[in-house]
Symmetry: C2
Subunit: 259 residues, 2 copies
DNA sequence: GAGTGGTCTAGACCACCGC
DNA sequence: CGGTGGTCTAGACCACTCA
């Protein structure tokens, strides 16, 4: 078993917190690396001389921090180092669209990931109030809804739902499963809506149970949400894209002038 | 006690998950509103006829989702609705500095919060490798470190640590507790470093125990981290600011051109 | 002091995994 | 099959809050 500090009775922290701290330390200094298995519950109860529930509480603590992940029947494993992807503000540059790449795929390939998309579902529906407000249309107006899930190295890392006012999407490949080279944005530009700017609203929260399933998240792993609104050169909102990303897999980078 | 569904033995979910679901449902339909107290552990053990640990596990589930918050000796309470704050990219506009307001205070007042700062600690220290890389200096070079905590309506919502290369800070109010009107950025500009652009790296994760204390976060509440690097008109990095924000209190807004 | 949640013990049975 | 984590029981003592 790896080297761990024994309990310190004079320490005012509870035993379970001390055990959690010892394991966290082992991970931080690299005695336990990504993918390594933690000592089993029975090894830890033996080493520390505590009840099983105490050890489980310590491990629960690390799960809540997102440091480790339990696999039933196999063990508790150190979560792999963040698949840090940097999405610079230039990720929607027209240059990529001209080369025929959609934003996610272009960025993922740049950092050397094998990227993929699945669960594409396209349909038309009346728009909800919050999206309608961003699009500057009336709630209930028809929009084309495109739902999809992005994979990096086969692991789901992001779900995205785009809303495009039906009048902009009808008669284009936006209503098809495959939008063609350059994706939605290339089709919008061809349809007479050259894109001028994006507004992104970024937040973080815990996932809903459905999001946990879709992104295969363990308990205690947060999500980053980004709602992007795309405007054309007339200042008309032409798309709202609502994305939910596994937080561990993303660092979003923004570059802006001081003005 | 409020109305709750009894356990369903034919349900394939564990009792603790069923209890969690019943409580979640009560919150979602409004039988329990923000600030309301949940039935006590002993009430729930009695009602469901299960052991206390089973009830505690159900409550742990809701804590992890950020729905409720336990207060020792008082009870478990439904978390109040998020205090959403929007920080537009223009929040560091020179215009605010010229009017004598630091960024956080200007923004908070705009949305009608009573803002505050505490725990200011200023010292000089050798810089860590990750910050040094962003500042374009050598690890171990001296930097002025400014640590502070921001409050909105008396509640801590963000901690911030700024690192300024000592050569830029010495002899200015940056080394004082009170940096004067306009804050650090105004002093840097006066010292011959007019600011040109910022780069922000945004991510989300679970807080460390120390961060949970500093931001008074319940378990299961994520943080948004923003590392901002400020560049002057010569392209020199003059400050790195590492912030940790209570996720529920923030929506970050970025506006950028499509290019 | 009564009631609350926080921590802990010492067991038990189960489901899942890999050999 | 043995080892792993998942769930559960029935107690115990403690620290905190509030009347």
């Amino acid at each position: 078993m790896i080297q761990l500090d024994q309990l310190d009775r004079s320490d005012d922290r509870s035993p379970y917190l001390q055990i959690a701290a010892a394991l966290r330390e082992a991970i931080n200094v690299g005695r336990l690396g990504p993918g390594d298995r933690l000592p089993s519950e029975s090894e830890l109860t033996g080493f520390y001389g505590v009840a099983r529930m105490t050890v489980r509480q310590a491990i629960q603590e690390l799960k809540t921090e997102g440091l480790v992940m339990a696999e039933h029947g196999r063990g508790v494993f150190v979560r792999s180092a963040p698949v840090v992807r940097r999405l610079a503000s230039e990720r929607f540059a027209r240059q990529h669209r001209d080369r025929g790449k959609a934003a996610f795929l272009a960025e993922a390939e740049k950092v050397g990931y094998q990227a993929g998309v699945d669960s594409i579902r396209v349909h038309e529906a009346p728009v909800a109030a919050d999206v309608a407000e961003r699009l500057g249309i009336k709630a209930g107006d028809p929009v084309v809804v495109r739902e999809r899930r992005y994979l990096a190295n086969g692991e789901p890392v992001e779900t995205a739902t785009s809303y495009i006012p039906a009048e902009f999407a009808r008669g284009t490949a936006i209503t098809e499963n495959d939008t063609g080279p350059g994706g939605i944005y290339a089709r919008l530009e061809e349809a007479g809506h050259p894109l001028a700017r994006f507004v992104e609203e970024v937040a973080a929260r815990m996932p809903t149970p459905a999001e946990r399933r879709a992104l295969q998240l363990g308990p205690g792993v947060p999500v980053l949400t980004v709602v992007r609104t795309a405007f054309d050169e007339q200042g008309v909102a032409v798309e709202v894209c609502d994305t939910v990303k596994a937080a561990y897999a993303y660092v979003l980078e923004y570059d802006f002038p001081a003005r």
